[in-house]
């Protein structure tokens, strides 16, 4: 499936709920289900600045695709992290660089990606794109 198809799926899942509480319950569920990041990656250098909730992001590059692992100490953030991994992990740098996480806006959680929010999510998206950019350059040189 393309990133966009997955985003569409997420949007449909969430649109089933009218009540914000149900949306957040789903996020919390997703957060709870997310496999924890390997403890050896839960280190300072993988931590993304966000004043209130912390996010750890680890990546690996193989066969032209980037795989991300990530986690957060806040559950709602972890739920959003799970969704971001769903769309961005195991993708080519090009796919990552050309897709915006529009679903967050469309499921009515835009505020979580606003630059004034200190939850680290916006920084995580930026960091994923930076990795993509770096690997794209490396791949271009490699060929």
């Amino acid at each position: 499936m393309t990133i966009d198809e997955i985003q569409q799926g997420i949007i449909e899942d969430f649109s089933a709920f009218e009540d914000w509480m149900d949306k957040y319950s789903l996020l919390i569920e997703l957060g709870n289900e997310l496999a924890p990041i390997d403890p050896k990656y839960k280190v300072e250098s993988n931590q993304i600045r966000g004043c209130q909730s912390r996010v750890w992001l680890h990546q690996e590059f193989a066969d032209g695709k980037i795989t991300f692992e990530a986690e957060s100490d806040a559950l709602i953030v972890k739920g959003l992290v799970a969704l971001l991994l769903k769309i961005y992990s195991n993708r080519t740098p090009h796919e990552i660089l050309t897709s915006e996480p529009r679903f967050i806006d469309e499921i009515g959680l835009r505020q979580h990606l606003s630059p004034t929010r200190s939850n680290g999510l916006l920084a995580m998206v930026k960091q994923m794109k930076l990795y993509a950019l770096a690997y794209e350059k490396i791949s271009a040189k490699g060929n």
Partner: protein, 411 residues
């Protein structure tokens, strides 16, 4: 609002004075429980500032025209109102700053330049807001002095015995908060000041969380400096106060340089104005000072003993309620406590709680509360904090309680 009105018969009138309270947020009635971060402004403050924007505005001091004189008069009237609010000896001891943080930085810098040298010591406590730690750290580093810390116990009470041990003949100043912005503790500052003065150590009181709620008498306290912020006491942002005893202020060199703080400028030698002007460099925030004056005027018109009693009721009520929640831990249970309740619920991240409460129209603060050492003391990364003002209601506390119960079930 029946329970609240029972305790605070003016409540209905008071809430009408704060237009911001009467609205919906995220579709729910707005409940504002983040008063320790910043308070809301009554219409009277807004009106007074508008009057000066609409009718009277001229840069203050040294002017011959009507607008400047009207503004200067109002500015100096505000200074007199602050003097009266703190019961300072004279208006010259009231310096307008831009907030508690600037007030403390002013003292750290100017007192430091005058009185602190290599090997000297400064004492603060473990429960201070960063604003009452970092300026001292910076100054100590510059002057080669050391910082000593008065610890607190898990109940949020300062270990006063430690003060006697920490004060040595190298101690030059002690800085302590009147009310802790995380633990709510009302510190026994009269006793602390007496202890310090016994050994000739002057004391700065961080009054950011006290000035909005309690009557302050700097002469009775005998403190050497007292600092607070306008925006936490129903005034505008950007204005604050430093009270200082003349004997210190006269001896301290200026902090910032610029207009009004000088007497005469030449390139070879500049002489400085008298206090308070010596410490008010540049165009003061006279609009903010006028707004703060209006806020004090508003407070003076309230039934203060009743309000103090009522705010205590809000604290008791919220403490009782929150303790009924399983797994909820309150940080700070000093016998003398102001309307601040910081807590965590087992297994729920404060950020999640804050986010979900916000969905329910309830504003609380979450995070490190600008008090890293308090977080470290309890070994937590963050806390949730509810803090009250006299316009809050028991029903709002009930709503917080119900919301927390509901949210807990989601995790």
């Amino acid at each position: 609002m029946s329970i609240s009105i029972h305790m605070n018969p003016d409540l209905f009138k008071i809430r009408k004075d704060f237009p911001i309270l009467d609205q919906k947020v995220n579709g729910k009635p707005f409940i504002y429980l983040d008063n320790a971060a910043t308070s809301q402004r009554p219409q009277q403050v807004i009106d007074r500032m508008n009057e000066f924007s609409h009718r009277f505005n001229g840069n203050i001091h040294r002017a011959t025209h009507f607008m400047a004189n009207k503004t200067t008069e109002a500015f100096e009237e505000s200074r007199e109102m602050v003097r009266n609010y703190l019961n300072a000896v004279e208006p010259a001891e009231i310096i307008f700053t831009h907030g508690t943080t600037e007030s403390i930085n002013l003292v750290a810098f100017s007192f430091g330049e005058a009185f602190i040298s290599k090997g000297d010591e400064v004492i603060v406590t473990e429960m201070e807001h960063h604003a009452n730690i970092v300026p001292w750290q910076m100054m100590c580093e510059r002057r080669g002095a050391g910082l000593k810390i008065v610890p607190f116990g898990d109940n949020g009470v300062l270990d006063l015995d430690q003060i006697d041990k920490l004060i040595t003949d190298k101690t030059r100043i002690l800085a302590v908060t009147h009310v802790s912005n995380t633990l709510g503790t009302v510190n026994p500052i009269t006793e602390i000041i007496a202890k310090a003065h016994l050994k000739n150590v002057p004391v700065l009181i961080d009054g950011a969380q006290a000035a909005p709620h309690f009557s302050i008498d700097v002469q009775a306290l005998d403190c050497d400096f007292y600092a607070f912020s306008g925006h936490k006491m129903y005034g505008p942002t950007g204005i604050g106060v430093l009270y200082g005893k003349r004997k210190w202020l006269d001896l301290m060199p200026p902090f910032l340089g610029g207009g009004e703080m000088i007497d005469r400028v030449t390139f070879s030698k500049t002489t400085y104005n008298e206090i308070p002007y010596k410490f008010e460099a540049g165009t003061p925030d006279y609009l903010g000072a006028i707004g703060l004056g209006a806020a004090i005027d508003y407070l003076n018109r309230q039934d203060k003993p009743m309000i103090e009693r009522y705010e205590r009721e809000l604290l008791l009520e919220s403490t009782l309620k929150l303790k009924q929640i399983d797994g909820l831990k309150i940080y700070g249970e000093a016998p003398e406590k102001a309307g601040v309740v910081s807590f965590n619920i087992d297994g729920i991240h404060p950020f999640d709680l804050g986010t979900l409460l916000d969905q329910m129209g309830i504003a609380v603060r979450t995070g490190r509360l600008c008090a890293d050492p308090v977080m470290d003391h309890f070994g937590v990364e963050n806390m949730v904090r509810a803090s009250f003002a006299f316009y809050n209601t028991v029903e709002e506390i009930e709503a917080l309680y119900i919301a927390l119960i509901r949210l807990k079930a989601m995790f």
